[in-house]
């Protein structure tokens, strides 16, 4: 099978598997005190799960809405980092870029960066975007409108799907020593800082692992190889 079609199939698979967790968001949002329309607007237009859950969590806890919004944005800030990477992989210009930007999230980045060719990356990005977008929004509506009737998504084991997705997509790259080091360092930073920092900050902070990789690798680091390969 060509890389493009396997990237497409994986992307849609991620879309279905991760998108179904929208049920959890929809029901969490309504339980927290948002109405169905507010839950759906967040899924349609914020479309970045961690930020949406963060805002709902603050609303539910009766917290300050300004702080809640800032917390949601802090969680969304990693999408800026992903965008820097995807800018070259997707190579989109003009109006298409405004459209593609909405799809810059964890899942699309994971699938796009796991492909070996630019065509595969683009196919994977758009397939994942489409799959997650459709399912996340449909299940948000279902979860919000029928909170009481919906089963708890953790009963289906869906809470393991997110981390399993990222693990499976990064897996082949763990064989590269430089990459593995950054992965271990990034994971360690996030894990150790979780008890001390607000949600979202530990994941952002893990970006420091890349800088450590810079210092150590000097001229022939993994990023340098990658950048060279792509510029050919």
């Amino acid at each position: 099978m060509s890389e493009v079609s396997s990237a497409r199939r994986d992307g849609i698979g991620v879309g279905v598997a991760v998108g179904v967790s929208g049920v959890a968001f929809g029901s969490a949002a309504v339980t927290a005190g948002l109405d169905v329309a507010q839950a759906c607007v967040l899924s349609l237009f914020a479309f970045t799960g961690a930020s949406q859950f963060a805002l709902a969590g603050v609303v539910g806890g009766g917290g300050n809405l300004v702080a809640g919004t800032l917390g949601a944005l802090l969680l969304g800030a990693r999408n800026t980092f992903y965008g820097l990477r995807l800018a070259d992989l997707l190579a989109v210009r003009g109006p298409r870029r405004w459209f593609a930007a909405h799809g810059v999230i964890d899942e699309t980045t994971a699938v796009a960066t796991a492909q070996r060719t630019p065509e595969g990356s683009r196919a994977g990005f758009y397939a994942t975007f489409a799959g997650v977008y459709v399912f996340w929004n449909l299940t948000t509506l279902a979860g919000a409108a029928f909170t009481r009737q919906m089963a708890d998504p953790s009963l289906l084991g869906l809470d393991a799907v997110g981390p399993a997705t990222f693990l499976a997509l990064l897996w082949p790259r763990f064989r590269e020593p430089g990459t593995r080091q950054i992965a271990v360092l990034g994971a360690g930073i996030a894990l150790l800082s979780t008890p001390f920092l607000p949600p979202g900050v530990p994941v952002l902070l893990s970006a420091v692992a890349v800088l450590a990789g810079f210092l150590r690798s000097g001229t022939r680091g993994p990023g340098r190889d990658l950048a060279e390969k792509e510029s050919v």
Partner: protein, 102 residues
């Protein structure tokens, strides 16, 4: 603050953060340091997400038995070179099964 204002501010802000990276100026994207950082940063962030989503519960760390079993099964599937979608199915199925039984 009205709840609708918070919802709209979150939507606008999240989109702005996404477009800020994707539409960063060419000169910035072409800088060798930025290129290397951008190439490697998804690895650090996605690895961090794996552990935070596996062990994190808000600001505390927990060991959720069924979820750990599911991820252990995913690792086993990866070692056996299972296809990607099979790995996801195995993770969900084992997590659900252990949760149901324990």
């Amino acid at each position: 603050m009205n709840l609708w204002i918070a919802v709209i501010a979150t939507c606008v802000g999240c989109y702005a953060l996404k477009i800020a990276g994707l539409a960063a100026p060419r000169r910035l994207l072409d800088h060798p340091g930025v290129r290397r950082f951008a190439a490697l940063v998804p690895i650090a962030l996605l690895s961090a997400l794996i552990v935070v989503q596996t062990f994190g519960q808000g600001q505390s760390l927990t060991l959720d038995g069924p979820r750990l079993a599911g991820l252990g099964a995913a690792v086993a599937a990866l070692l056996l070179r299972a296809p990607f979608l099979v790995v996801l199915l195995v993770a969900a199925a084992v997590t659900a099964a252990v949760r149901l039984l324990v």
